[in-house]
Amino acid sequence: MYAYIARRIVFGLLTVIGVSIVIFVVMRVLPGDPLLAVLGPEGLQKLSDADRAKYMADLGLSDPLIVQYLRWMRDVASGTFGTSFFRSESVADMIVRRGPLTAEIALFSVVLSWIVGIPVALISVLRPNSFGDTIARFLSILFLAVPGFWVGMLIILAMLFWFGYRPPLTNIPFWEDPWSNLQIVLPPAIVLGLGQAAYIARMARSSLLEVIREDYVRTARAKGLSGRLVVGLHALPNAMLPVITLSGILMGFVLAGSVPVERAFATPGLGYAMFIAVNERDIFVVQNLVFLYASVFVVLNILIDLTTAWLDPRIRLQ
């Protein structure tokens, strides 16, 4: 098991380094002059070559790529992540300020996806081809097919018309005003959560259907256990392993989805910040946020792999 953990962490680290290189190269290759965003089209036209060189040098963009890359990595390692073109705050400050909101949304959405997905799967499996199963399958396909931000817009419109919902537009930490904070966080979390719940339900359903055909489930029934124990103790835990793994992969869905969904709800989180930064061609911010998202994804998936490995005694006791 320790060897497995060590191997997973080393490969995770290598993945993060690889990701940083890919992001860095892509950011430098993509079209779009950073100075265009800073100075506007007119400003850019008036810019003399000497001034341009000076600006580029100030921003560190005229150094050889390897130097730029190493400098970025130094910033990452020191925890400052560099600074934005426009704003005085460092990217690190921005992450600290806006990050918790996005993390909250992600967390709530994952919890919600399980709270909704697993019972739906259980209904499907315990009463196959029943009315409940049909409804569950219809809804999960619906949510798989519909983009999250569109559902988000519908929810906002519905709440606006019927309840006069107006979420606070400023960032309110949970510990200061939980109610206002939840008003900000819950709607995007629901949108992202329902999308995930559809995947979770489908995976849990097929995984459960597979596991309840296993010989050891038949053994459990032959022991005279109640249906609840057979499913709850013998089938469900074994069926959950692939669902946990899927949940980790869906983190990518949550992180990617945070951009359009936070934009749709005007949530002052990192996803919205990323949207703004891309529009402003604020490459330092985009580069760092993409890197942060990728690292979070890698780390979470390592944790999930280790959890599932630990849950399986065949791996844990190796």
Binding site: Y2, A3, A6, R7, V10, F11
Partner: protein, 335 residues
Amino acid sequence: MQPPASTMPDADDILRVEDLKVHFPITRGAVFRRQAGAVRAVDGVTFTLARGETLGVVGESGCGKSTTGLAIARMVTPTAGRIAFEGVDITDFDQDHMRPLRRRMQMVYQDPYGSLNPRMKVRDIIAEPLEVHGIAGGRAALKERIAASMAMTGLAPAMADRYPHEFSGGQRQRIGIARALVLEPSLVICDEPVSALDVSIQAQIVNLFVDLRDRLGLSYIFIAHDLAVVRHISHRIAVMYLGRIVEIARRDDLYRDPLHPYTKALMAAIPIPDPELEATRPRQIVQGEPPSATGPRVGCAFHRRCPAAMPRCAQEDPVLMGTPGERAVACHLHD
């Protein structure tokens, strides 16, 4: 003391296996894998097979009987030892060198369904080896060969256009045999070819193997876990335990008078289909299970389970000794 059974040269031998070893490495390590040990699946197997002879190889799971078969067919790479087929040393042959020899040496597997491509018609399954070896000939010749091969194994040529799933287990094994024989091999390695079949069908297939051997002069290595089955087809029988042959003898000698305690235990464990006989049959059930093939080999591999173990057996590993081609046993009781 007699020399080991292997050192007698014999021009009639179709196959000679000397001190064959197949070890599978076990790797450990967090990031960089290093070899931490080995599973000694086959750990020093020596025998010869005469032309037209059938050697039954029996033993329980993990004794290395199947790996021995795979190593001879060069489907796995031997770690040590020599394999000579029709006088040619094939130990170090790569796949390219093996290809022409595969015509002469074919395999029949246990799971007739798993070894047949479900998307191919029987005709194409049987034709495939001919095409691989570029001896298909013309369309008419090909068709004739397929029909002949099918008829030989008791399949109606009209079945050539069906798919494997349309056949029963016994018929699928017939297809597998037809596929092996279409190349007219001289040696067929049969890896548990009847273990998955029902008794009534098993008897059909065993008889088919016997008939084909007598008609085509085939040599077999017939691998099985059932001493009662190999008895009906083998001239000689090798009993394997933990990667080695512990006893090898002519069939009637082995069944009349098994020498190795493991052979005796194996026979005692097989119930005889006769309740009256079973009621009076002295029953000595050997306890325990075979040891792991990864640990160090100290003394005789069987000594912990052996009812006749002596102090010496725990320290000294017995070697296979006896009359070549007739009888040899690896046991201190028979040194």
